[in-house]
């Protein structure tokens, strides 16, 4: 199978539509603000998209299984707060060196509990991860004593979020690319990847084919937790500190990005490249809304509508619109 053939197989209809929409949005934005199409601006967009891309990578695997991870808002928080607060647990020296791995590990721990609950206790993922989200929130609130977190991000964290190991490519983007490449390889070429799709299709058959499905589910939840925590680490590096509810704005965009990228919410179907397209689409959409500023136009008409209203309404309407184009479910026959 030639390289171009392999690449072509990654794209399905949904992915192509998503990428097409990205281009359309860029063109619309460029009409208002020509700088939209400059390389500098595009790289900036990709930089912002990376934060969402990392967390969406993990959640996508869980959705492929036919489950969902609603614990990402506070797992992101845990990642950020545990990384910035690592010195409190590991001491002044190790706490700085191991800040990032510590934060990610804490996220993986949350993922482990999620995985055990869903795979071994057979609890419905929606409710269990919802509960874990609340538990994670409670633990973080307890950790900070109810106040805003006081710890600062380490040098390395800042570098990870803001710097460029490779000239021209922001580090978060680099991380996303590496992560993405690994996931694409795993999903297409590895035994685990096959099993993930299969479990999303029909877990009963997978069990009777002699596969331990519980381990597959556990692995994906651990990965999801780790990715979310990594996003938290990056966010904390970006802002130079962690802050309350830092992960809250990520739940809807993450799920939307994955679904818009063509992954079936019931599991068993979806390409990673689609998620990439969905992430970029959501990011561009959000950027456009802050640039285009429709509320100024309405204000001129004498109607006072907050900026946030447009952000929310347009966001929701666009998602519904795009899904109506290619996200419709099969009719029950």
């Amino acid at each position: 199978m030639s390289v171009s053939g392999v690449i072509a197989r990654q794209f399905d209809r949904a992915t192509l539509i998503a990428f097409a929409c990205v281009i359309v949005l860029l063109l619309i934005g460029a009409m208002v603000e020509p700088a939209f199409l400059s390389p500098k601006y595009l790289i900036q967009q990709l930089h912002t998209a990376s934060f969402l891309g990392v967390v969406a990578s993990g959640v996508m695997l869980v959705i492929l299984l036919g489950h969902i991870d609603l614990s990402i808002p506070w797992t992101i928080g845990v990642g950020g707060m545990m990384a910035t607060g690592a010195t409190g647990f590991l001491g002044p020296e190790w706490g700085v060196t191991l800040a990032v791995p510590f934060g990610v590990l804490c996220g993986a721990l949350i993922g482990t509990v999620n995985g055990l609950g869903v795979a071994y206790l057979r609890a419905p993922a929606m409710i269990f991860t919802l509960g874990m989200n609340a538990v994670a929130q409670g633990l973080m609130v307890y950790h900070t004593g109810g106040f805003a977190p006081q710890d600062r991000a380490t040098e390395f964290m800042r570098e990870l979020a803001v710097g460029h190991f490779i000239p021209g490519i922001p580090n978060p983007l680099l991380i996303w690319i590496i992560l993405g490449a690994a996931i694409v390889f795993m999903l297409n070429r590895s035994v685990l990847g096959r099993r993930i799709y299969a479990v999303g299709n029909q877990e009963r058959s997978v069990f009777l084919s002699g596969v331990d499905t519980r381990k597959v589910i556990l692995a994906c939840f651990i990965f999801s937790g780790a990715c979310a925590a990594l996003t938290g680490v990056l966010l904390a590096g970006w802002a130079n500190r962690s802050y309350q509810a830092m992960g809250d704005p990520y739940l809807l965009p993450t799920i939307a990005a994955i679904i818009l990228g063509g992954t079936n919410v019931l599991g068993g179907r979806g390409k990673y490249v689609g998620t990439v397209a969905g992430v970029i689409l959501i990011t561009i959409l959000q950027s456009m809304l802050s640039v285009v500023q429709p509320q100024r136009y309405f204000a001129q008409l004498g109607v006072d509508i907050p900026a946030d209203t447009f952000r929310q309404v347009v966001f929701g309407v666009v998602i519904i619109g795009m899904l109506l184009i290619y996200g419709r479910q099969q009719l029950v026959r």
């Binding site: 929701g316 309407v317 899904l323 029950v332």
Partner: protein, 341 residues
């Protein structure tokens, strides 16, 4: 000669648990939720320094009723094996609108109430249309509409404020003979909305759809109409909750955290109340008790002198425990194949 085809565990269930074993799954769920709530409330009252005063009961009832209404709203779509992540947003939107139009004299107030209820119906209907005719997955569709409804709420009430007709607010939130009016409101909703719904053809169809949509289709059940009704009524119930919130706070506020909190807690209440997330089984009555359980957790924390800031932790743990209890059946199975539905 016939071979016994009675499943073994049905017979043993009846033998060991008597009348309890013969209850339907939904009724068992309600019973459990009731027991949990009763025990929690008793502990709460016992630990209270002042004891169970009517005032205290009134406050607890009002808070619980708010979540109970949103939980009832959540129950209907869940029965069809769907989900409505926009109930919190509809709740907040109704609150904001009520703080704007349920004001002044009795006539304006009445029109205002109708307006808000109509809005609730509309929100639910839009959800229904997108899910039924747009054929979008409920989770993502309602996630998107929640953003839209919240955005509209922001447009109605950019800043917290507004007011409400004082007589109405007082009437809705006080008690007569120590019985809180909010509880009577819940009772009225159950008697005039839930029970007729459950006993109607379309209401039962909702259970059928949740049980097996394929079989429901093959049985000729009007799937589209049943789902539309479920989501539309859901919006209505959420808007009733919004009016009650306005009556309690005398204002409207478009806070994302409130919308999220009520949506997520409504799911928890529904689960604790015995409604299955897989659809086909459940009751709004159970969800009422589930809501009160969730609310009482916070009160118990205060009474036991635990930092109330830890409420999310305990709510989360309660949720995890509730859902794990349901998973105890995993321990009892004798054939591993049965774990995988």
């Amino acid at each position: 000669m016939t071979v016994s085809s009675e499943p073994a565990d049905l017979v043993s269930r009846q033998k060991y648990f008597g009348w309890v074993g013969r209850l339907s799954a939904a009724q068992r769920g309600i019973l459990i939720a009731m027991l949990i709530f009763a025990s929690m409330f008793i502990v709460y009252g016992w630990k209270q320094a002042a004891g169970l005063t009517p005032n205290m009961i009134n406050t607890a009832a009002n808070k619980g009723a708010l979540l109970a209404l949103v939980a009832m709203a959540q129950t209907l779509p869940v029965i069809t094996r769907g989900l409505d992540l926009s109930v919190g947003a509809t709740f907040v939107l109704a609150n904001c609108l009520a703080s704007t139009i349920v004001v002044d004299g009795p006539i304006a107030t009445t029109f205002g109430i109708f307006g808000v209820l109509l809005l609730g119906l509309a929100c639910g209907a839009v959800n229904g249309l997108i899910i039924v005719y747009g054929r979008l997955q409920p989770l993502i569709a309602t996630l998107a509409t929640s953003a839209v409804y919240f955005g509209i709420a922001l447009a109605v009430r950019p800043q917290p404020g507004g007011s409400v007709n004082f007589e109405l607010a007082d009437f809705m939130t006080r008690s007569s003979f120590a019985i809180p009016h909010s509880v009577l409101l819940l009772l009225a909703v159950v008697v005039f909305i839930w029970i007729p719904y459950r006993r109607s053809v379309l209401g039962r169809a909702a259970f059928a759809i949740g049980s097996s949509e394929q079989a429901a289709y093959m049985s000729g059940i009007p799937i589209n109409r049943a789902k539309m009704l479920a989501y539309t009524l859901s919006g209505l119930l959420a808007s009733i909750g919004g009016i009650l919130l306005t009556a309690l706070t005398y204002s409207g506020a478009a806070k994302m955290s409130i919308a999220n909190e009520y949506t997520l807690n409504s799911i928890g209440a529904v689960v604790i109340g015995g409604t299955s997330l897989f659809g086909g089984v459940g009751s709004a009555v159970g969800s009422i008790f589930g809501a009160f359980v969730m609310r009482t957790v916070g009160d118990l924390l205060i009474v036991f002198d635990i930092n109330p800031v830890l409420q999310p932790l305990f709510v989360g743990v309660v949720l995890l425990v509730a859902v794990s209890l349901g998973s105890l059946r995993v321990l009892r199975i004798k054939n591993r194949l049965d774990i995988y539905r």
